[in-house]
């Protein structure tokens, strides 16, 4: 890519730009999945997100970065209509999933196609198996699928999340006995079990140790071919390591959106350059 060659030729980027990236080459293909058009979100009088337009593609990892309170989590939550749980939240603009306005969709169906993983690992206080099976049950038909019908999909989801090998022998154990990193991968397995088209990750590694973080980062890069991945992160190095595209948000605005190389290597906006070099944040 042209942008990449420009980035490597100038030396103004932060120190970690020379660090190795987890993703080695751009994905073979990229399909537009979601599109946010002029999205503004307010909590009562307080504007949280102003006029953001952003594509979300399968085959690419999109990272949203920015200081605390810049609206990146709010934007993420708007993508599967979790903002609606806050009664004071209002949304203007349009978000589409495969061309359909998500405001017209049944929220439970939308949230099966656009699933989310949270900052805090939050497995349900059930067994490891039931955490994943819960998502698969009562899906579509009214009849609950039997245990045998669930076994395959549960194992599949756990293996996609890279957890199956570790928990294979004790699927019946309580999920809350797992380590923090394993709990978070269980949450990813849970999110993947619904066979979503888009996976939203809200600072998934901020409560984890570096080793668990690395495992999850590898996983995210691996997942991007099957699902569109959006990750909100505080951690600039993380965004640099795993993201194909990066959006920098500040005070509710999307200040800059571009490929990881461009945004970290030669940002167009002064505020972006200041933020990634550590002038504020």
């Amino acid at each position: 890519m042209v942008e990449d060659s420009q980035a490597s030729s100038n030396g103004h980027g932060p120190h970690f730009v020379s660090a190795p990236r987890r993703r080695v080459k751009p994905s073979q293909f990229a399909i537009d999945r979601m599109l946010a058009e002029n999205v503004s979100i307010a909590y009562g009088q307080k504007q949280a997100v102003s006029d953001v337009t952003l594509p979300i593609r399968q085959g690419e990892v999109l990272a949203l970065i920015g200081p605390s309170g810049c609206g990146k989590t709010t934007l993420l939550r708007a993508l599967n209509r979790l903002t609606e749980l806050t009664s004071s939240a209002t949304l203007r603009g349009r978000i589409t999933l495969d061309g359909t306005d998500i405001a017209t969709m049944d929220p439970t169906l939308l949230r099966r196609r656009v699933t989310m993983v949270f900052q805090q690992p939050n497995p349900f206080p059930l067994s490891i198996y039931d955490n994943v099976a819960y998502v698969l049950r009562e899906q579509g038909s009214k009849r609950r699928p039997g245990r045998r019908a669930l076994d395959g999909p549960v194992r599949d989801a756990l293996s996609r999340a890279g957890l199956l090998a570790e928990v294979e022998d004790n699927l019946k154990h309580p999920a809350l006995k797992l380590s923090g990193g394993q709990q978070q991968r269980l949450c990813i397995a849970r999110a993947l079990a619904a066979q979503p088209e888009v996976l939203l990750l809200d600072e998934p590694c901020s409560a984890l140790d570096p080793q668990s973080t690395q495992v999850i980062e590898d996983l995210i890069v691996k997942l991007r071919d099957d699902v569109a991945v959006v990750i909100v992160t505080h951690n600039l190095q993380q965004a640099y390591r795993i993201a194909d595209y990066v959006g920098f948000m500040y005070l509710g605005e999307l200040v800059e959106y571009g490929s990881g190389r461009t945004l970290f290597g030669s940002p167009r906006e002064k505020r972006t350059a200041e933020y990634i070099s550590g002038a504020f944040g």
Binding site: L85, R111, N122, L200
Partner: protein, 321 residues
């Protein structure tokens, strides 16, 4: 950063010297707390010990399986099988009304809370019921169950509805248990971190599925605790039994339908039996009263122990990574 830039703390703070540094006001306060604490322990121990000694003196296994009869001395009055079964029947009726109603109310208040005004009103109403003396609830019950429309729930003769039956007593006793169940369930639901609800909604589950499959199972220890505490109150209540159950010595059934005839009829429970046989009651058989009171106390203590077991078991894990 150089290795030597962080200096080790110069001295480790000495441990607090014991005793003399306490101010005299603090010392008085602690002394008062100790005395009060020991006092309550002594009172509780005295009650249990006294009942234990008296109970062991008078309880005979045969008392638990013999019907009571009217009589002038202890050999004639029989046992308290009927009151024991009466306690069981009343408890089952009261809890089977209070548990679903209480859990549903708690879920509504905690998870929906809308319409706001009605929810606040319900909250105050539940608190008010909790504060109402059971004798007042009993009196209110006589008004309700004496109405001709509810005549099928109790004995009636010639158009006059008695308003006293296991149904009437059980229904009113459910009001005694209800606030405890609502309170404990709400507390349990509110202790569940919000991100757990969002986690369920974020994978496309409905609010109802979240409540049913995740929240209520998680809050189960609280629900059980509230139910046990409510059950303890139901078993221990006397006023409602005396007024609404009729406090007849044996089961006094009404009509011919099996089970229905018992539930429509009158009877007694351990509490009314104790009252009846205490020196203040008509029976005046203190040894029987002590024996029944011992059994009553044993049941309530067993319930409290069960609550403690459930509480201990509930600390299975946490979400703090």
């Amino acid at each position: 950063m150089q290795a030597g830039t962080i200096a080790a703390p110069a001295t480790i703070a000495p441990t607090r010297p014991a005793g003399p540094t306490w101010r005299w006001t603090d010392r008085v306060g602690i002394a008062v707390c100790w005395v009060l604490g020991l006092l309550f322990c002594a009172i509780a121990a005295a009650i249990v010990m006294f009942m234990l000694v008296q109970g062991i003196r008078y309880v005979r296994p045969s008392l638990l399986v013999t019907h009571p009869t009217a009589g002038f001395n202890e050999t004639q009055t029989g046992g308290f099988l009927d009151p024991l079964l009466g306690t069981l029947v009343v408890s089952v009726i009261a809890i089977s009304i209070a548990l679903p109603l209480g859990v549903a109310t708690a879920v509504w208040l905690s998870e929906y809370g809308r319409p706001f005004g009605l929810a606040r009103l319900t909250e105050s109403a539940v608190e008010m019921i909790a504060g109402t003396p059971s004798i007042v609830i009993a009196l209110f019950g006589t008004v309700i169950f004496s109405s001709p429309a509810l005549g099928f729930l109790s004995r009636s003769s010639g158009g006059v509805v008695f308003g006293r039956s296991f149904f009437a007593a059980g229904a009113m006793l459910s009001l005694v248990a209800l606030p405890l169940i609502v309170g404990a369930t709400r507390e349990g639901l509110q202790a569940i971190p919000n991100h757990l609800r969002e986690a369920s909604l974020a994978v496309g589950k409905t609010r109802f599925a979240t409540i049913r499959r995740i929240l209520l199972p998680t809050a189960r220890p609280s629900v059980v605790t509230g139910t046990m505490l409510g059950l303890g109150r139901v078993i221990g209540d006397t006023a409602i039994i005396v007024i609404l159950l009729g406090a007849t010595l044996t089961f006094n059934s009404s009509g011919g339908v099996p089970l229905m005839k018992v539930l429509r009829g009158t009877g007694s429970t351990l509490t009314s039996y104790v009252y009846q046989n205490s020196p203040a009651g008509e029976g005046n058989q203190p040894s029987k009263a002590y024996a029944a009171a011992f059994v009553l106390l044993a049941i309530v203590l067993a319930l409290n122990a069960a609550v403690e077991v459930v509480r201990r078991r509930s600390h299975a894990g946490s979400w703090n990574a």
